[in-house]
């Protein structure tokens, strides 16, 4: 049996790593909520497991998402992860072909070139030797980028990388040493026995000519083994824990587990899965426009791990979702923030008993303008005009004295208070017997759609208007104004409504395109998600976003959110309109056609 003392650091480290990971994973899984456990049990033996394996391959090994965002950074992650994986995989194949058995100690493939130095033939020997050198080279190039990134992060296009702790340093240093030491060890041995392929072979003969390779080989193997051992032991306590955590996360996510209102064991796995890639820092306008760079998600997650979440990290964020959208690990960053706001949230003692039993009217369609729309009356007037022209049997649910939808309270972590408002609104919705609820404000829309659990259609007015146009109830006239559309955070990233407003705008105007739109759109800066930003700071964010939106030089800036409209109109001379206003101004009302429509809409609107 091939054995040498130097394999001990590796073997011990490996065993320790497995033991620690087993314990950690077990604790995580045991601590999961019972609903989540049920989800796992239900889906474990389904195609979802295969799906998850595929995703682990694509994300944890190939790092496809990082690739898309930044090819250089993607290559770095891929070459390290996938290259190393291939080294292990093919190393094992090589060992199996050599020994012609499945049974060899785990260290044998790792130190194969130390133990097998004779020119004894085995199947695919030459190919294996070539491939192993190639994979090593790939890993080394990735490592080279990683080391350069530490010293000069611009190379990979990131403005900031994150700071390190003791175990991070230990793991990082040993990681840096693993592959160069492997290269040296294999080269020295190759030089000694005059074998090896293009990399280790040529380096080996070079070393053999200039150095005492017979004295250097064994220390190099010791070093290699030690570096591996240290890395394995440090891994569970370092940032590299994100690698195993992400694998578990991918499986659980595929089974349908999510972070909900409370911070659960699953949330903890999410927090640990952050690779600290820093991509979220670059996406955040609070960093880009304000230069504040300590509240972004990567720092926020760290503060959860260190149990030092402060108000600043919690309440400055606008919950715009830009970081969540771009995070390659797919962590529910906004929801995680809300769980923490909840924990730190103060008082849920509001009764709102001043809300009188709701008045209601039976109608087909309910219209909920929302608090913000009451501040921008042109929007609600346009909607009422559209309802009237289309002859809809609607009831304006919050025309006068009504309750807020509750979303701002949810965002602040006052869930129980929000529930009281929701209960009030729900009652009203139920009593009206409406089949469709149309809202003008994406903030309300999101909460009606996701939190209220209504059994009627909830639509934002962009969707609803488009429907009216599609079935021919509304006729639109195409104008020649040039417009740019701003995607409101809650409507776009929040609910994925990107197409409807664009289809509508193409019918009434000439739609121009700014550089950042759809899921990359900026936040207007008015977000109710932030509680800490001052008006001055908000204005800077707004102006920054405006400058980018106005690049195509539009006549009008169109949005689909009263808050965005209000915010933007304070910062530009260009006319800012809600999509409903533009549509209402472009409707053609052919009198003759009206009667016909009256019959048509009955069937459509109620569907």
């Amino acid at each position: 049996m091939a054995y040498h003392h130097f394999v001990l650091p590796f073997s011990i480290g490996m065993a320790a790593l497995f033991a620690i990971l087993m314990v950690k994973f077990t604790i995580w899984i045991v601590k999961l909520e019972s609903v989540d456990k049920r989800l796992i049990r239900k889906n474990l033996f389904s195609v979802k497991t295969l799906d998850a394996m595929g995703e682990v391959f694509m994300e944890s090994l190939l790092h496809r998402k990082i690739f898309r965002k930044n090819p250089m950074l993607g290559y770095m992650h891929m070459s390290l992860a996938f290259g190393w994986f291939l080294l292990i995989l093919f190393g094992n194949f090589q060992a199996q072909f050599y020994t012609r058995t499945m049974l060899h100690p785990p260290y044998f493939p790792i130190f194969f070139n130390f133990f097998v130095t004779t020119s004894e033939e085995y199947l695919f020997k030459a190919s294996f030797e070539f491939l192993m050198d190639l994979f090593l080279l790939i890993v080394l190039t990735g490592l080279f980028i990683a080391i350069s990134k530490r010293f000069y992060s611009r190379i990979v296009g990131l403005k900031k990388t994150t700071k390190l702790k003791f175990f991070d340093k230990l793991a990082l240093t040993s990681l840096w040493f693993i592959f160069p030491l492997r290269l040296l060890a294999e080269s020295f041995t190759s030089g000694l026995y005059n074998n090896g392929d293009f990399l280790t072979g040529s380096l080996g003969s070079f070393f053999a000519r200039h150095l005492m390779v017979e004295k250097l080989a064994l220390p190099a193997w010791w070093g290699y083994s030690l570096a591996l051992g240290f890395f394995f032991v440090a891994l569970p306590y370092s940032r590299y824990m994100h690698i195993p955590a992400e694998v578990l996360l991918i499986f659980l996510r595929k089974y349908g587990v999510r972070t909900r209102r409370e911070f659960t064991s699953y949330s903890d796995i999410e927090v640990r899965s952050c690779s600290r890639c820093g991509i979220c820092i670059d996406a955040c306008q609070i960093n880009n426009a304000l230069g504040i760079n300590n509240i972004q998600s990567v720092y926020f997650l760290r503060s959860i791990r260190e149990r030092s979440v402060g108000d600043e990290k919690l309440f400055t964020c606008m919950l715009c979702g830009r970081c969540e959208n771009i995070c390659p690990v797919g962590i529910q960053l906004s929801d995680l923030r809300m769980t923490q706001r909840n924990k730190n949230g103060v008082q849920n003692t509001s009764t709102y008993d001043f809300l009188v039993p709701p008045k209601y009217k039976v109608a087909d369609v309910l219209y909920f303008a929302g608090c913000m729309t009451h501040l921008t009356p042109a929007i609600k007037k346009s909607m009422l005009k559209i309802f009237d022209i289309a002859g809809v049997n609607y009831y304006f649910m919050d025309s006068d004295k009504e309750a807020c939808c509750g979303r701002p309270l949810i965002q602040s972590g006052h869930y129980e208070n929000a529930a009281k408002l929701m209960e009030y609104n729900k009652k009203l919705i139920r009593q009206s017997k409406a089949k469709v609820l149309v809202t003008s404000c994406p903030i309300c829309y999101k909460t009606f759609k996701e939190d209220y659990k209504l059994n009627i259609h909830v639509m934002h007015h962009t969707e609803y208007i488009l429907k009216l146009v599609e079935v021919g109830i509304l006729l639109l006239e195409k104008g020649d104004s040039k417009v740019v559309y701003h995607d409101p955070c809650e409507l776009g990233r929040g609910l994925g409504i990107y197409e409807e407003p664009r289809i509508l705008l193409n019918k009434v105007a000439r739609l121009l395109h700014p550089d950042e739109e759809r899921e990359n759109a900026f936040c207007c800066g008015g977000s109710l998600g932030s509680f800490n930003l001052s008006t001055q700071q908000r204005n800077i964010i707004r102006d920054d976003a405006l400058a980018k939106l106005m690049k195509p030089n539009p006549d009008k800036l169109i949005t689909a959110c009263p808050l965005c409209k209000k915010t933007f109109s304070k910062g530009t001379k260009v006319q800012v309109l809600d999509i409903a206003e533009l549509v209402a101004a472009s409707v053609i009302v052919p009198e003759a056609k009206k009667a016909l429509d009256m019959q048509k809409h009955e069937t459509v609107l109620v569907e």
Partner: protein, 110 residues
């Protein structure tokens, strides 16, 4: 006592030495913009809660400054955090954070 058909008004004199200013201090430290309130009433005019019941950020400001903090909890609980006041305030006061901070202070110094 015999009912003469009128009541005696309670003493309204404010003794500043007796009053608790920790609340005011806490709020101003954490949301300094509230210093700039000019009691214009813009927030009150637009307030969603104020539309339904007597509720008024200016009054909160006054109560805080006078140190009359007993009724504050009941008052503050009426706000729905909808954010309209923030958008109309001519002094750019971060009113919602003022509300949150008052809530926090009440809990802290209760």
């Amino acid at each position: 006592m015999k009912d003469f058909g009128f009541t005696i008004t309670k003493d309204r004199q404010i003794d500043y030495d007796q009053h608790d200013h920790r609340l005011l201090q806490f709020v101003l430290e954490n949301e300094p913009s509230f210093q700039a309130c000019i009691s214009c009433g813009g927030c009150t005019a637009t307030c969603s809660a104020g539309n339904l019941i007597d509720f008024n950020i200016r009054k909160l400001n006054m109560l805080l400054r006078r140190g009359e903090t007993e009724g504050l909890e009941k008052e503050i609980n009426k706000c729905m955090l909808c954010g309209k006041c923030m958008l109309v305030c001519p002094r750019g006061i971060n009113t919602r954070n003022v509300i949150l901070k008052i809530k926090e202070a009440i809990q802290k110094f209760r």
